[in-house]
Symmetry: C2
Subunit: 219 residues, 2 copies
DNA sequence: TAACTAATGTAACATATGTTACAGAAGCAC
DNA sequence: GTGCTTCTGTAACATATGTTACATTAGTTA
């Protein structure tokens, strides 16, 4: 298993540590709850196979999806290191899923046996948090833009970096969602920006034609 | 100094650790850069006095503020635990400010002298990340709402929790900003929701009148 | 090639929301 | 109390954007 949590840790060491921490592999059928709002957090989870939906359910039956967690990614990690006494969201198997349930003690009980690698784990955990913080900061920054053009401009400038062109790995549907809008609105605005000579767009290829102009809008 | 980073660590121990890690207190005049986009990250920072603006500057001279960091809070922490080779934002003194510059080694060099408390520091650091993740997740969730009413509904439900009324510590201006809108738009919508019997608003006091209705809109 | 599907662009319309400017209410100093 | 400032609600208007439905293009399979 190659995942950030066990980076720099051999498979053998991994096994020892997990045994020592009483981590368990568990499987869930599609739709089953892995944990629920209000449960008291005792473990965090690593997705081994499948995907998990992290969401909030309302009494009316509505469900709001916060995010989807895929293989090799963790969830519930926020609760491992805070003092929250309850989960405030649900984790639901999105499909048949296998997860590794890792009791929080794993991170704090520096046992004296063969588990000298705990420090590495903790370091990896900090790395995971860092990456997530990056992603979230960027997205929050993006969504702080009030107009769609502003958000598009910020997004384009961020992805392009020093370069003047790039390819996106999102299609229009995904991009519109990421930018907090709808596909037709996004298309319309992209074309308008092209007509005005700010950018050139061709499917997933983007080219900056007027950097200053974009920076003007990316206020 | 009472801050989360040094939670459970006596002042004496703190001093030892900081000396051993070569942490330095530094002061900056208002407007001075603490670090700049492109600098290579070597330390993280704790605000001792004043406040710091974390922002992105554009060549056009425009500046976008990502967030403001106040006393006892840290910044630059994301770069301590990732492999990014450059800061991608600037940190600028918002006013005359004193910060503690903590070299990254602080977290990894478990020196053998008097610094047994490093583990605690790392744990505290994880707690800081957790809290930030909570805040950011909530805000991202909120901003995922496409209509203003949706966002207001989510916000009200979240703050109220089990209860039916609460007081906000934000004024209309701040709240509108938090919800990604403008003050008049917020006022208009709040009043509309009051007229429709969803909530009751009186300055910073909010009361839920129709929970199901709110949940309906908080899709 | 043709036929089909998925992705993307377009257009018309309704509406939510930003903008601007002002009015009323609350809080505070005197 | 008066006068002042700050916060909040209101109204009119312009506009950005969601909605819906359809057209066009690219990609894929036979």
């Amino acid at each position: 298993m190659v995942c950030e949590l066990f980076d720099s840790i051999t498979e053998e060491e991994q096994k020892k540590m997990l045994t020592c921490a009483a981590a368990k592999e568990r499987s869930f059928a599609a739709g089953e709850y892995i944990f629920r709002q209000g449960d008291s957090p005792k473990s965090m989870y690593l997705v081994l196979k499948g995907s998990v939906m992290v969401a909030k359910d309302f009494v009316t039956g509505k469900r709001s999806v916060l995010f989807i967690v895929y293989e090799k990614d963790v969830f519930g990690e926020m609760f491992a290191f805070s003092n929250e006494s309850q989960f405030w969201y649900d984790a639901i198997a999105n499909e048949p899923v296998t997860v590794l349930e890792i009791p929080f003690g794993f991170f704090f009980g520096f046992c004296e046996n063969a588990c000298r690698k705990h420090q590495t784990i903790v370091k990896n955990m900090l790395g995971i948090f860092s990456k997530k913080s990056f992603m979230m900061t960027k997205k929050l920054y993006l969504l702080s833009g009030k107009t769609l053009r502003e958000r598009i401009s910020m997004w384009v400038l961020d992805l392009a970096g020093e370069k003047d062109s790039f390819k996106s790995d999102m299609n229009r549907e995904e991009l519109s969602d990421y930018l907090g809008t709808t596909r037709p609105s996004l298309s319309r605005e992209l074309m308008a920006m092209q007509d005005e000579g700010l950018i050139e767009v061709e499917r997933s290829s983007f080219k900056i034609k007027d950097r200053e102009g974009l920076e003007y809008y990316a206020e």
